[in-house]
Amino acid sequence: MLTLIAEILVALLIVIGSTFALIGSFGLIKLPDLATRLHGPTKATTLGVGAVLIASMIYFTVLEGDFSFHELVITLFLFLTAPLTANFIAKAYLHRHIRHDDLPSTNREEGWATYDPPGEEGPLAPTQNPVTEPPARTPAGGA
């Protein structure tokens, strides 16, 4: 009986997980530019991988009688790396496609760190365009 419940639960979690992973990937196709596309893989995919990992834990604990911590470690690594990756992609996107003037103000004396590296003297000149190279590949970016 316990085995049956566990099997159903594992199957359900795998289906849920793969559905979310699929939707996340679909978002990559559907959404119009990089900034919005970032939302697909950082979220929809987290739950997708999470559900599959929980399924794996249940499977090995109940059906194989062999509890494994590795899924927890994978989850932890995922939570550590996903925001960092998203942040770096976002920064690259800002550099290539967005001018500092297009962003909302920091409401501080200094600008956003991507354009106005910390430690340099003085605030960013208001008209400075950070995109110096490569020469305009796309007209003014997607935003």
Partner: protein
């Protein structure tokens, strides 16, 4: 010998690293515990320049509360973003950049907040102001920027301020 001051500047990191080593080993043995503790002492020493001062976690129960809230929000975020992707026309989404002024100071707290923002409903943190006092956040669907910013500050930043002081 002043053990605590010199060799164990970061007891919390030592414990986390030792625990992590045991998780990787997938079993608890005496050798594993000793090796984990050894790594837990050596790695913070080797990387001590990264940790000029010990991160102060003031309120451990709050950490548990925060973790549970964030996990729940991640589930909600997934369902919501999946819904938008599947059933909304792209034109209906109102993506926008917004500025979140920060009331927290410790680098650990700001990192936690930025990571949390990325993992939760329709928002990704993109950049930090050069003086480290404001976060640039991109929202997938943020028709009311002020409301979204107020939500982030009240739900996450307030709690992080209680945790990190």
């Amino acid at each position: 010998m002043k053990l605590h001051g010199r060799w164990l500047r970061h007891p919390l990191i030592t414990l986390v690293l030792a625990g992590f080593w045991l998780l990787l080993m997938n079993e608890i043995t005496l050798g594993g515990v000793l090796m984990g503790l050894f790594l837990g002492v050596v790695i913070p020493l080797y990387t001590s320049r990264f940790w000029p001062e010990a991160p102060a976690i003031r309120h451990l129960p709050r950490v548990v509360e925060y973790t549970l809230i964030v996990l729940w929000d991640i589930v909600v975020a997934n369902v919501q973003v999946a819904w938008w992707i599947l059933f909304w026309k792209v034109e209906r989404l109102r993506p926008s950049f917004m500025t979140v002024p920060l009331d927290i100071y410790s680098p650990e707290a700001i990192t936690m907040l930025a990571g949390t923002i990325t993992m939760t409903p329709g928002t990704v943190s993109c950049d930090l102001s050069a003086d480290g006092r404001a976060l640039l956040v991109h929202g997938l669907h943020a028709p009311d920027v002020e409301e979204t910013v107020a939500g982030i500050k009240d739900r996450y930043e307030r709690r992080l301020r209680e945790i990190f002081g």
